[in-house]
Assembly symmetry: C2
Homo-oligomer: 191 residues x 2
Amino acid sequence: MKLLEDRIRKEGKVIGTDIVKVDSFLNHQMDPELLDQMAEEFARLFKDAGITRVLTIEASGIAIAVLTALHLHVPAVFAKKSVSSNIGDDYYTARVHSFTHHTDHDVILSKNYLSKEDTVLLIDDFLATGEAIDGLTALCKEAGAKVGGVGICVEKAFQEGGRQLREKGYHVESLASIASIQDGVIRFTEE
Amino acid sequence: MKLLEDRIRKEGKVIGTDIVKVDSFLNHQMDPELLDQMAEEFARLFKDAGITRVLTIEASGIAIAVLTALHLHVPAVFAKKSVSSNIGDDYYTARVHSFTHHTDHDVILSKNYLSKEDTVLLIDDFLATGEAIDGLTALCKEAGAKVGGVGICVEKAFQEGGRQLREKGYHVESLASIASIQDGVIRFTEE
């Protein structure tokens, strides 16, 4: 999506060879008009996938997920970071490993809001090693729900998460796909 | 806002005399059409306040904040729960006390996204004892920004947060205001 790529080129802050910070418009401050256009594009890309719910994980995915759900006319739901390891039988749970922070944490989702009747669009702001999306697919599997697609704002295509998801057969769409970062220059994957 | 009150009456789960869970449409699963209409109402209520930024706190406030910002044509920004007590000079910080969990935690906000030029609309899903909004007003004070208004989805008017904020002179608007919960029945404040 050229609009997003241009914005990343203009405002993304490159750190080293694998980090681009986009917190001026995507995941700390948020440009609502840009996010709404990105959401409209997700809705277009997945319009024939029979999506019944949009699922994301707190906190950075929530804004784009609710806007996408608005365009698809379905509910959105976000998995919550669990504060307790003993949350009872009312929740699905999944373990999410963070390669960045070298930690594990659990995410939870009420059983009321995902079921085997659902075809789910997973949404997140970034895809790198894929741990967050793996957590969301695990929640869907536990619920018996079908994953109808994976919508990513910014994919780091030089890391393995996207390739692994596509090899597993998931329909993954990234609005911006970064091929490499070298000497402070961001190169996007050719469309 | 009658639409929201009706939804709370229909789907809110009362626990005891002071808790109403609205996680089927507001802060776990989200009904995007309802949230968009609530956001439109916030934009109408604060249209003459000169708002330059919408500020909320992760995670439950993000969806309604970004939709409100979309209607007001300004950026939204969310304060993040801090994972580290040593985050350097690039962030404003505030301590938030949780009466529910009897804990304190810090929230942070990049200094890039709030300044003394700003007139800020604070948004949150619930207002009870007011600790989250107090944290956001502290961030605004640190930035030298003006608080132009406080927009709350559901106020528990039988707790002191809203009264205290109004006594301090803040323009607080709640889309639903619960006067009491007794025997499982929710009574709203007369408009």
